[in-house]
Amino acid sequence: MSAEGYRTLADQLRGWPDARLSRLLTARPDLATPAPHDSGQLASRAATRSSLLRALDQLTRLELCVLDALVVAGQTTRDELVSIVHAEPAATSAALEHLTDLALVWESPTGPRVLSGVAEGLAGGPGAGVSGLRSRSPEPVPPEAVAKRLAELSAPARTLLEHVLDHGGEATTGTSRHTVTTDEAATPAEELLARRLLVPRGGGSVVLPGEVGLVLRGGRTTTDRVDDLPRLPTVERSAAMVDKVAAGAAFEAVRRVELLLDHWGTQPPTALRSGGLGVRDLRAASVLLHVDEPTTALLVETASAAGLLATGHTPDGEAAWLPTDELDRWSTRSPAERWWVLARAWWDSPRLPGLVGTRDPAGKTWNALAPELAGVHQVETRHLALRELGALPPGEVLASGTGLPALAARVAWLRPRRPRTRADQVAWAISEAEALGVAGLGGLASYARGLVGGRDDTAAGVAALDGLMPPPVDHVLLQADLTAVAPGPLESTLAKRLQLLADVESRGGATVYRFTASSVRRALDTGWSAVEVHDFISSVSRTPVPQPLTYLVDDTARTFGSIRVGHAEAFLRADDETALSEVLHHPKASSLGLRRIAPTVLVSATPLDVLLPRLRELGAAPVVEGPDGTVRVARPDQLRARTPRDRRPEGLRAARGTATASAVVTAVRAGDRAASNRPAGAGQALSPSGSLAALREAVETGASVLIGYVDNHGTRSERVVDPRSVEGGTLTAHDHRADDLRSFAVHRITSVAPVTG
């Protein structure tokens, strides 16, 4: 940095080395798109309001306060600045340096200067992370003089002054006189005005100048220190323990997402018209998953963020939430990889599942997966909160109870310009992280550090998690009560096959399956044979297959398919088997779709009314059998159509005809008049004021005028009208052609001419 400073920010940017400039562009990426032409343009872009606010949002409380102090102090030196910020001088200097890097502050020959526009951006009180002091007067009263004047104040005046200081440094004076001397001052307000501790600013309001505020706060912009980052209370907990708990949650989360999506693949929940998931469906899912509704909402949202769940249509054409084809790819991966996909999606998701079930300001309940259920700040808050967890010393985790509020306070210090709901957002971030297994017991899981740290080491994280997850098992234990217990997560393909063959009775770390006649039949339905079932069962079982299970499979297979069902349009039966064979094998019968299902019965795919004449053509003499088995004889039906009938009464029809005719006549007459009045030299275009004047005149005189009018579709027409009123840019007039009152937009009227004759 040049010792004597720069003339402008652009100057300073020009003087910066490339590295520093590129640092600025990295920190404020919006400045780089589109690429500015020169430093001048860069500097002016840096001062635009939107870019400034974006940069301010990224500042910590300390940095904001340093910036604020600069605004309050106005023209100042680096040393003076350090003295009025309530913080360690080194911290203040470092913050100033960072602000300079961000091009929010630049070095003028007289000292650091804030970029124009920053002062407006910093408006607001302590709630926005700043001091709430006004800028100093152009020629500030020296602190000693201020202190002296303060000492002279009466107690009520002092209280009033402090009240104004704490409430934005601005007040209205009411009836107080603005120009009084100290002796004339009658009220506390006048006392302050007389001593110039409050300065009138016009419009009846007074402000408290920055230098007074500084003295009142003991020479600093704030009374409390701004560089003490809230500390996080911690307790000791071994990293291994944290990992174990988190990995357990991670495993459960993956398992539950898979279970839910598998379930929804066959029984999808309806997608609400607003795009969300119905309350009832969420509740059903939470029962299915054995977790509470907030966790269910989180899992659903995470699955959707990971692209595993989306809206689609059921075969009936109803909108529904369906698993995506991505699910099939996802399911084939190892549990750790699957978790990684979910965790990554969650990490960068702006969604707010924590709101599900609560009501929005309009009193409407938030639904999971509703499109509006997202917050712009959620991602940043989540990242900050979890990075803070990650920064805890090894072997320590956030204390339960006091930890969370402290974390919220710390995040608030890091980014003070954030909405009020932050405490909620921090709490959500942590509880979601624990539910998904990113964190556990208030500590960050070791395998998630890559994710949280922003490093792209998926492989390492997955490998670390793999070691913590229950290893997949490839066998089950079969028991005589017809259950099979998989003492751990089954390999995916194995689980799918077993699920077909047996019903799941209990889930968790292990899975309990129960074989029933109907579950075995289900497998047979999908094409398994009894032998295949036996082979599969004995291959996955580590224990001998119990005899009752073997028996169950055989017994189910025995009755399976003993009754066959099919579709036929008609049947043919005859005691004479030869007659049926004759029909069946007739060369012309192939199109009838005949099939023999018993010696004396044929079925046909052809409907009866077609079949009957065709059979007669083939030389057979069939009779039709009724549902009760009796023979039906019938002569051909005689066809009749319905007599057309007109339901409208005669009178109404006549009236309508007359009305139509008269309307046509009116229109024709009006058109005639328009034609006869058309001026020789086409319609003269009038200026808007001219046409208004002409119309008003017509209203006054009650005369008919010919107007040129362009309608909504851009079609020009000319009408003869009797103007009634002109108001609000609209002409109301009696239209001769429509024979009715009509409104015309004045700006669409192109010409106005008096009707002659």
Partner: protein
Amino acid sequence: MTDGPLIVQSDKTLLLEIDHERAQDCRKAIAPFAELERSPEHIHTYRLTPLGLWNARAAGHDAEQVVDTLLEYSRYAVPHSLLVDVAETMARYGRLRLEKHPTHGLTLATTDRPVLEEVLRAKKVKGMIGERIDDDTVVVHASERGNLKQALLKIGWPAEDYAGYVDGEAHPIELDESDWTLRDYQRDAAESFWHGGSGVVVLPCGAGKTLVGASAMAHAKATTLILVTNTVSARQWKDELVRRTSLTEDEIGEYSGAVKEVRPVTIATYQVLTMKRKGVYPHLELLDARDWGLIVYDEVHLLPAPIFRMTADLQARRRIGLTATLVREDGREGDVFSLIGPKRYDAPWKDIESQGWIAPADCVEVRVTLPDGERLAYATSEPEERYRIASCTHRKVDVVRELVERHAHQPTLVIGQYLEQLDELAAALDAPVIKGETSVKERQRLFDAFRSGEERLLVVSKVANFSIDLPDAEVAIQVSGSFGSRQEEAQRLGRLLRPGHDGKVARFYTVVSRDTVDAEFAQNRQRFLAEQGYAYRIVDAEDIADLPT
């Protein structure tokens, strides 16, 4: 990850892999708070229920112990929500206490005011509560002590009962340990009951529950009413008490269908108490016949439902329940908990192990196919007729004959429900039949002959099956039956069949008609027996020859 034997499921079941080396330790550790639900050959299933957790609380275990146990033995991470739930459930017990107030009598007091507020607003509790004494205490109508406890349990805030008991009419009772000594666990059980006031002692069959009862009586030294399941067991109690205590035969009365004696120690059957005549229970007054100081409930898991209503009024008297299991077929475990008391003692598992876990019998289900004619008759019959038609098929006769021939030298019982079927079987097998109408004398003669080996085959009806002096058999063949309580079925089965002296496994055949309701019933029984660890097999009637003998 630890390599524990236990897997905690998210539906609150615990799976215990019994072949695991730490399975025994784990079983001991979880027994106090988890109920054993199924015990087939490889994996036993336990369940965490609020009642089980409250029982554990009453027995002095706290949530931390439970959580630690789960964490210690669990193979995988335990779902966090489950641990939270355990802690919350256990914390609910004891927030409310029934106490005796010096001036107001029975009161309900709380340590947690919002809980009391919640409870007082509950509809179920309304009529049982009197005026409010102060913020934390409210008067309870003395007659509602039992009902209130029941109601509080139902709304999830079980109350601890500190209201004390009446002493009852004193009566000297001492254990007479001249030729025997009380086992340690029996003494512990009686003492934990005595200190707890009222409650249930869980001991496996054969562990000497009667002695625990006697010991409890010796503690109470007061007149005692003992409620037992049937007359046999009433006699057994009487013999045992005379032999083991200072009580003489004259001091002990039997109150059953046959005899109605009320003495300082009275043994009554559930049946006589629940007998209803013209809408009233004529023998209910027995409960007030004396100023009882102690009431003993034998086999609590079989306690008939009407008894609960009666015992609701007996809350001021000490109650001890004796049972082998807390699981009830009718799901009224909650009533046992609130009306008799929480579990006060659970037998150490070691003692149960010494009983052995052998399956007492080999169960074989033989399936016969109905002939076509009967199949049609079955298909078109009324629903209430179906079971009879299915179970009385003539095909069963041939099968039974074949089975009887296979076990020609073993004492065999053929058990059935329908008399015509029994008569037909008796004729076909040339064996005597015992039915309800058979005289006691004849019945006795046949039983004696069976015991002595003179008669090796008996056909008996269900009535005879209930009979107290039914002899043991090595082979039982059931051709039809109304399978009521599965628990009862298993007990009867255990009582009926003893392994042969030469180590031969006893056999229990059930002949069932395939594809009918008969087979459906059999499926339930199969599941239950398999869950209890019995070996179970199904064969077709044609394949009997392949069975091992």
